[in-house]
Subunit: 225 residues, 2 copies
């Protein structure tokens, strides 16, 4: 990501950053609520970001990882989705007034935030494309492959295997499928020797094959600078 220049330093150091811990199960943010915190960045643990619909359905918008902001997109108004701590979660939070952040307080922070927001937007659009225009097998493969790449960036991926403490029902709500069909899709991926998902662990068995199948291009996961 960006490095602060010499002139940025005073602004940065005067920003009140606090570390916070949320136990597993905490609803960190709720859809429709006015945003009270300025900025929240995940540093450790797993979260799930979702929308609840009036028709009883749920849509998982994202699984925010280490380094991701979880309150972008609602800087001035109401949260457009809920965020739940799936495991114990650690965050850094900046609690000064947000518009100050973006206008004069610290140009470095303003730039960084805009980069993070832009990247999240790109990720969200790929997610939309994934749900709208890929078949379930490729769709599931794409989602897990993207998470693996993001974990790689966050330096928490080893041997193409990672913890993934979510249920198949959570995955289904991220894929726009039923839980039952998601189960069958995961079986197909396992039998095709592409991905094994078992007991909360995801293993990318054939990463090149997955990339071929999904035309995965990680360019959108980089930070704009």
């Amino acid at each position: 990501m960006l490095e602060p220049s010499q002139e940025d330093l005073p602004g940065i150091h005067s920003v009140p950053v606090v570390e916070r811990f949320y136990p597993a199960g905490t609803l960190i943010m709720e859809e429709g609520q006015v945003a009270t915190r300025s900025l929240v960045m995940v540093t450790a643990g797993w979260a799930i970001s979702y929308k609840s619909m009036q028709n009883g359905q749920r849509v998982v918008v994202d699984f925010p990882l280490r380094g991701d902001l979880i309150n972008h997109g609602s800087p001035a108004g109401r949260a457009y989705r809920s965020v739940l701590a799936q495991t114990d979660l650690v965050t850094f939070e900046i609690n000064i007034e947000r518009q100050g952040l973006l206008s004069g307080y610290s140009p470095f922070l303003a730039r960084s935030i805009m980069s993070l927001v832009a990247r999240n937007y790109g990720i969200a659009m790929e997610h939309l494309a994934n749900v709208a225009r890929r078949r379930p097998l490729e769709r599931a493969a794409y989602l897990l492959l993207e998470i693996a790449y993001r974990l790689e960036r966050a330096e928490t991926l080893k041997h193409n295997r990672f913890q993934f403490p979510f249920t198949q029902s959570d995955l289904a709500d991220a894929l726009g499928l039923t839980a039952i069909h998601t189960n069958r899709v995961l079986r197909d991926l396992r039998e095709a020797e592409l991905i094994v998902v078992r007991n909360g662990v995801v293993e990318l068995v054939d990463k090149p094959g997955l990339i071929d199948m999904t035309f995965f291009d990680p360019a959108y996961l980089s930070y704009g600078g």
Copy 2:
């Protein structure tokens, strides 16, 4: 939207705003290209914003309307989608360096932009939910109802009827359906006396019925302030 305060005025007046015209068919922005303009806001005409996928599919991300920014989400990096002028299009563009805009140049503009970006994020997330978790009939109804509400805000909706200069194929790519099935869905909506789409004109025949059917709540279309 927001009103500038007295202290905002000098900053605003020093920002170089230009009006631009794009003839129908102009590709205003292309996916993957580095953003060269700072900010582009639609003031008249129709555009379509889409992603092209490697599997040959296309996903329509949004139909940007009067008052919408069409380069949010890529302020520092590369555009995550293409934008095509569907009709002749008029924009206002701000061509100063973007990070200047957001850090000290004009606090009023910074706030306004953040509000617009936040709103667009909310719209995008509703779109995701729509594609992921609504059935085609409700999905099509929701999309057209949303556009009607947004046009209402832009003060270009009359008698629940509006021009919509796109093909059923465009609509299909926004709904995640085939063009053929989209045609059947539109027939169903017509026969249910809910919406009539014909010759590039959309008429909401039974707006209350549509709102009931889709649980439509326009809260996410407001500006955060």
